[in-house]
């Protein structure tokens, strides 16, 4: 097999750069990869957290009108924008929100419970912004995306035998196993990792870019720049007090029969400039949605041209689904989950290689074990305690801190790893049983049991790994 022919000097420099970048960001990158892997399934986790919400895929304009009326009765003022998220195959639940107030909608249009801001919210926020103030967090995660791209380039140039050893996995010797695992997992999914890091950086740094490019080219007018990319608000020519959603949905069906509406947004609600948008996914397209804009009377204004406008606009609106893996059904999520897990293993094994090559152990070995196995344990315990209304973020942070202290006191990385893994295995099993017991008398959706079964399977796999490790010891 042909392989890259690089000079020894280039390889040496690349290895040095790869190592420096990786060690500087290892823990944060691992956290981002791990939470990203789990966040792929955030819709399933949200349904699992609130299993007794009514689920359906069909809806009527009358139901939407009833929900809007009920929403207006519940809140004191009319929000500027009102969102009605429509049920889909992926999330067969309907909810309404405006001005930070949100409720699920029953089949009859009446409002039910408010969505929980619990573990899943904590998880996705951790992935997107590390629970830092939004702009800072997004930029930091975006920079981590750029650094992951750097690691991909330097990784490619660091391994001249990457293609020569494309199918090799030498097991048994600890360091060699880690090296082969790291390289084999990396090379075959390289385009996927590049896509994930690039789209992540794109999403995270779009805000910063708009500020800088806005200052450079748009006289500090960020809005004008974003309008050029994503399209501007439409001009409302017809004034109508009553919203005719039925006509709009009929019009949409006639102009785009294959479009599947995912949400409806009523803009400038209750004013003369009132209009509404229906966002709809299109088959075989990666764009998040096309947005069709209607006058309040239901007549079409235009569409935002995410599907057929400038290539730049189409790309800008395609990065989200491509990054989240939310397209083409459930199997894509599973593959994204597997590849995301592989990326997390690459992060962990990369540092393991460096630690193994040092030929001695220090505090760093303990800290790294606390990161690799402490973080999943912290996430699992946060999920468990969130059922009892404990703040998941604080449980997560406290557990991770305890894991670090425990690892530093133990000073035996192998034993620490085994104990943390055992705790994780047990916690996952307890989560499943607790969830099932707590929801015993409730009418729950099949997704609830499917998620529980998946967690139980992960727990069993971890249990087998534990047994294998103990047996080998």
């Amino acid at each position: 097999m042909a392989y890259l022919k690089l000079s020894a000097n280039t390889v040496k420099k690349s290895v040095s750069a790869h190592k420096s970048i990786a060690l500087a960001i290892a823990a944060l990158l691992y956290l981002i990869c791990l939470t990203g892997t789990l966040s792929v399934f955030f819709e399933e986790f949200e349904r699992w957290e609130q299993p007794s919400i009514e689920e359906y895929t069909d809806y009527t304009p009358a139901q939407i009108h009833t929900a809007i009326q009920n929403f207006q009765q519940r809140v004191n003022h009319t929000p500027k924008t009102l969102w009605v998220v429509l049920p889909t195959e992926a999330v067969p639940r309907m909810h309404i929100s405006g001005d930070d107030q949100e409720w699920f909608i029953n089949r009859d249009g009446h409002l039910s419970a408010a969505p929980l801001e619990a573990w899943t919210t904590m998880l996705t926020k951790l992935h997107m912004q590390l629970h830092l103030p939004q702009n800072i967090g997004l930029i930091l995660v975006g920079i981590l995306g750029v650094l992951l791209c750097s690691l991909i380039f330097s990784g490619l140039l660091s391994h001249p035998n990457l293609f020569k050893d494309a199918f090799r996995w030498r097991r048994g010797r600890q360091a060699l196993t880690q090296v082969d695992l790291h390289n084999r997992l990396s090379i075959w999914a390289l385009p996927f990792y590049f896509m994930i890091s690039f789209t992540g950086a794109f999403i995270g740094l779009m805000g910063l870019f708009s500020v800088i490019a806005g200052a450079a080219f748009y006289n500090n007018n960020n809005e004008a720049l974003l309008d050029d990319i994503y399209g501007s608000d439409p001009e409302v020519l017809k004034v109508s007090v009553n919203l005719n959603i039925n006509t709009a949905l009929q019009t949409l069906k006639s102009i785009a029969p294959e479009a599947r509406p995912i949400y409806l947004a009523i803009q400038n609600m209750g004013t003369d400039d009132q209009y509404f948008e229906i966002a709809a996914t299109l088959p075989k397209r990666l764009i998040y949605s096309e947005i069709y804009r209607f006058h309040a009377d239901g007549s079409l204004i235009n569409h935002q041209q995410f599907s057929d406008g400038a290539v730049g606009r189409q790309i800008a609106y395609s990065v989200y689904r491509l990054h989240f893996g939310h397209y083409a059904g459930q199997w894509v999520k599973v593959i994204y989950g597997l590849l995301g897990l592989a990326l997390s293993v690459i992060c962990a094994s990369g540092v393991n290689i460096w630690l193994a090559k040092r030929k001695y152990e220090s505090t760093l070995n303990d800290l790294w074990v606390a990161v690799v196995w402490g973080l999943p344990l912290a996430l699992a315990l946060a999920a468990l305690f969130s059922f009892y209304n404990w703040a998941p973020l604080w449980v997560f942070l406290s557990t991770e801190l305890l894991a670090v202290v425990f690892a530093l006191l133990m000073k035996q990385p192998l034993n620490t790893r085994w104990i943390l893994m055992a705790c994780l295995t047990a916690t996952l099993a307890i989560i499943v049983f607790t969830r099932e017991i707590l929801s015993f008398n409730e009418t729950v959706t099949p997704t609830f049991h499917q998620v529980n079964l998946s967690i139980l399977m992960v727990s069993l796999v971890l249990g087998m790994m534990l047994f294998q490790q103990r047996y080998q010891c």
Binding site: F153, F198, A201, A213, A216, L339
Partner: protein, 180 residues
């Protein structure tokens, strides 16, 4: 069609694997295997559309290859040497050096790459008649690409002043061009 696409991909990677296993690896066998792998892109995009097809093609490769890697695993059981435990303190000089490199590789390189990507995207816009959305997205994409490569380049270079000098020259000339 999806089945055909997946089977073609499996055949392509299996051919590559078979060629890899041979002691005298032949470039022609590799080329055929890669051609079959690339050819599987066609049924993927026929079945799923261009956008989904390409992404499925990329996502299909690793699981197939990993199955072959697992089937080919070798066991080399050896006793690990006993590891000594010692206190390793970070070198202060090394840390200062790393902090300096981070500053250069971070904000400084970002500004340089922004100027460079702006220049290229504006030049492409003028020559090809791109609309604003295309130019801005090209600008951002190039910025991310250049920045990640520059970080690697700067950290890989043992002598920082050369790369710093290069970036500084680029930043100053770019600023002059943009604001001068």
């Amino acid at each position: 069609m999806i089945v055909a696409a997946f089977i073609t991909q499996i055949i392509g990677i299996s051919l590559l694997y078979q060629s890899w296993r041979k002691s005298n690896r032949q470039p022609s066998a590799n080329a055929i295997a890669w051609l079959v792998i690339i050819a599987s892109l066609w049924p993927w995009q026929e079945a799923m559309g261009l956008e989904y097809g390409i992404s499925f093609w990329f996502m299909g490769l690793p699981p197939i290859a990993w199955v072959l890697i697992i089937s080919n695993r070798e066991f080399q059981k050896r006793e690990a040497p006993p590891r000594i435990r010692k206190q390793a303190r970070p070198d202060r000089k090394h840390l200062t050096h790393a902090a300096l490199k981070t500053i250069i590789a971070g904000p400084f390189t970002f500004v340089t790459c922004f100027l460079c990507s702006s220049f290229i995207s504006l030049a492409v816009k003028q020559s090809m008649g791109l609309v604003e959305a295309d130019q801005l997205i090209l600008n951002l994409s190039l910025l991310l690409l250049f920045w990640s490569i520059s970080i690697f380049w700067l950290i890989a270079k043992p002598v920082e002043w050369r790369s710093t000098f290069f970036l500084l020259t680029f930043t100053l000339s770019g600023s002059l061009w943009l604001y001068g």
